[in-house]
Amino acid sequence: TALALLAASCARGEDEAAGGQDGGDTAAQAQVLEDAAGSGETCSAEQAGIEEFDLADMKVGFSQSEAESNPFRITETASIEKEAEKRGVELITSNAQSDFAQQISDVQDLMSQGAELLIIAPLNSDGWEPVLAEAERKQVPIVTIDRQINGDACGDYVTFIGSDFVEQGRRAADQMTEALGGKGEVAILLGAAGNNVTTERTKGFKERIEENAPGIEIVFEQTGEFTREGGQSVTEQLIQSNPDIDGVYAENDEMGIGAVTALRGAGKEPGEVEIVTVDGTEEAVQLILDGWVHGVVESNPRFGPLAFDAHESFGKGEEVPVELIISDREYDADNAEEERSNAY
């Protein structure tokens, strides 16, 4: 500990001004709900068999799935914390560091520490039965954000707030089609294997390519593990084995940035290989302006307001839709400049 303090105390970063993410969401950055998305089903406290409550008196537990080391998670956690502070709600948090067993036990820990409401960013959609059973026993309503929990809507959880990953894949495919004029060879940088985000973003992309752009051929699919390093090494291999590659679809910004580093290292020019990514981080949007990235499909992590809104209205006995799908932005060369402030 002393060591850490020592190391930190005399540290001087490259850019001292960098304030980091504070999660102060402006109105423009906030999540916007999709108009007609979702199943239309709703859930109320009565339906779920839970007594009404006042959010302000409740202790809320938030379980984060991955280390807050990438912009998405940083912004997500910050947004939840900011919102809790704003509303004066007591919040306890935990982070499972990408370990699913850890997340299960984290959530149970949160409940035994007296969390009466839960917000969960699940690492995985399946495997929640023990948690759901205990939450039911303890009458703890759950709002899941960003990824779904597979279970009975309203029975097991109140609502799911998040993006439609398949749709993100489709929109990425549209951007790619536009970028390549509907013709060419494309590589996919997959996310971590066994992750539903990977599965769904791949599915949407392939579906739409097949439907709309028969001229585009997917010639290469390798995992970059959602990391910048992974994206970089795989792309380096890719440009050796498929020198004629026309486009790269990276399933998150980090891998996309890694791909750009690799292309730069190989002496390619911006635009020689079209890159489309998903997430909407500042760095990625900057790369659009630099000409390296063709487009970015947003996946907005600022769940704070909507998540607490959901709990609040649920507590008041109102009907809450069981699925709140966010309408994500899209960045491309046309809007990157003005929309840049909305990136995270």
């Binding site: 490259e14 080391s69 912009p71 990391t227 390093e229 291999q237």
Partner: protein
Amino acid sequence: MTAIGMPAVRVDRTRAVPWLQEYGVYIGVAALLVFNLVFTPHFLSLENFRTQAVQVTPVLILSLGMALVIATGGIDLSVGSVMALSAAMISLYLGYGPVVAVLVALVAGAAAGAVNGALVAFAGVQAIVATLAMMIGGRGLSLVLLPQLDGIRNPGIRELGAGEALGVPYLVWISAVLVAVVVFVVRRTVFGRRIVAIGGNRRAGELSGLPVRRTLLVVYVLCGLLAAVAGVLATARLQASDPNSIGRLIELSAITAVVVGGTPLQGGRVRIAGTVAGAVLMQLLVSTLIKHDLPPSWTQIAQTAVIIAAVYVARERGRK
């Protein structure tokens, strides 16, 4: 006064099997190269070899330190976390300029190695436990220090990662120099001889007056230092400090490279050239699988088969 007690051991051992044991890993590398030349399009290009050389750099440098540690009969699971630590240091101290930042990163790596070494040599903790603790704690510490990925814009560091001299990337130059240094240390210095002697029989080393503990300490410090170098280079190449994902599971690759290269895990022998070949073998294998766009399940299973085959060929024989 004439010859007495002449043993039945004879000179001219048939060397067929030992030969395979000695050169198996090179044969493996050669086989993969041939396979790729025949079946992989665009394999035979300078650019491609440069890519492979650059990608293998971190594992290669780690495996040099790992080989020394394994030669003493130990193991170091913490190298990946030490890489993370050095990455965090770079980002934290870059404000003082790249030279200071790199130095601090190296010092941090050496310090982590010193803790490992002290636990192993002086406190008598088993290497695998001591370095396991460092692996867990070191990663945590680097994330405490630098909780998030931090892009690096410093031109010096970026040049280190992407630049080249005489057409060869700096990264490759550095690893070549380090290989040469370690070979020299192992072959030519008293210290190098002591490493294998301690691995071969620690008690005997102690009774022969070797500074066993000091040597062990230095070996772990070197391993930490090399891990820090790997961390610096990986950071420079990525152009970002990423203590969360840098070096995850890389200790397993480094150990594999060392063992596949013919250094036995129980220590007492070390083969640096074999280690280099082992690292190259694993790099070529993964790159071959990627280039042929095989799914991850294949990659994993193929690695399993190659590791077992390579270790089987290089294994100790004749004990029974």
